[in-house]
Symmetry: C2
Subunit: 187 residues, 2 copies
DNA sequence: TGAGAATAGGACATGAGTGTGTCATTCTGC
DNA sequence: GCAGAATGACACACTCATGTCCTATTCTCA
């Protein structure tokens, strides 16, 4: 752990994080035993990687924020206008729905957590404000509310994809269309 | 209880149900102690009204479904077309966000519960299909997905109202506008 | 193949939530 | 004001998730 982690350790760690994200996204009270089962790992092993529940929470928090920022950067790099950036972000993070839910479903979950970064939220707010200023988004609606709608749409879309109701290749197009048409400024 | 419940008993019962709805809407693992505190009642009293946790769950399930169906009936009575009905329902149940969340946030929560009625969902699906048939809603989108969007929008709206971000009197108009413009058929 | 890493499967103590009971106190309606 | 309803404040046993051990087994890589 101090030097180089073997490939085995990395895989096990990823499996636990993935399992935690999948379960905690929908029910933060899911037990460590459930997570261990889902990761196909014994509870002993889980505790070896993450001594206490909080350690796993923190690790997942950091990992989720990292994934999100990566998707964010990619979307920004591929866009020229604020509204285009927002749409690209929405499309990109449909696959990260578990992380989104874990991070944002309960506003108070990470209150006071030293690893928590509100940067994402701020950046998003700025983008929304910019899109409103340029007339692409309805200026009557509070940025906070717009963000809520964005996350909700992403969540519903991801759920539908998981349930098989919505084909994956149509997901991005659908969520962006609903977002754009539903929040477009009245002309 | 067998004959006529005193006004006191009814008020206490309502207070407990309201508290349970408010807490369980956001965190179904909230303890009975928390609910008792919120209802300004001792845990003893709560247990006197609802002997076990499941009894409170069932009671809240029944009560929530009842409230929802009442709002539903009112909306149906005041509307003539399917799309109009859907919009009226959305406006009417913004105030019932806690109940909506409690009922629908976890699809598996009431699986196998004898009190659970899927009628609401079916009726909603029928309305959505009708609205799609008449060209008011995009027929490319699965009714299940449309329902998910509706519930999400209702939730976000109710949250914003509670947080003070969105004035109550603007809530209905806002949520309906987003719903309609975001899901309208492309012409 | 052998050494060391990695894991599974327990036992055990602890704390929180739950369910049940009892008793004293407060409130309500006649 | 009084009887009975309604409630609050405890005490207790029980269950389950958590955290900490320890040992036997399996896996990985040199």
């Amino acid at each position: 752990m101090t030097t180089t982690d073997s490939g085995v350790r990395q895989r096990t760690r990823r499996a636990i994080l993935e399992a935690a994200a999948a379960l905690w996204a929908r029910d933060f009270s899911a037990s460590l035993g459930d997570i261990a089962d889902r990761a196909e790992v014994s509870r002993s092993t889980l505790h070896r990687y993450f001594p206490e529940r909080q350690a796993l929470v923190d690790a997942l928090l950091l990992d989720s924020q990292e994934s999100l920022e990566e998707a964010w950067s990619t979307a920004v790099a591929a866009s020229s206008t604020p509204i285009e950036t927002l749409e690209n972000i929405m499309g990109a993070i449909v696959d990260l729905a578990d992380r989104i839910l874990f991070l944002f479903s309960d506003p108070a979950r990470f209150e006071g957590n030293p690893h928590w970064r509100a940067d994402d939220d701020d950046g998003m707010s700025d983008l929304i404000r910019a899109a409103q200023a340029s007339g692409d988004l309805d200026a009557d609606i509070a940025p906070t509310f717009v963000m809520g709608v964005m996350y909700s749409l992403i969540y519903v879309t991801a759920e539908s994809v998981a349930a098989g109701t919505l084909p994956r290749h149509k997901a991005t197009e659908t969520v962006v269309r609903i977002f754009r048409h539903g929040l477009t400024a009245r002309s």
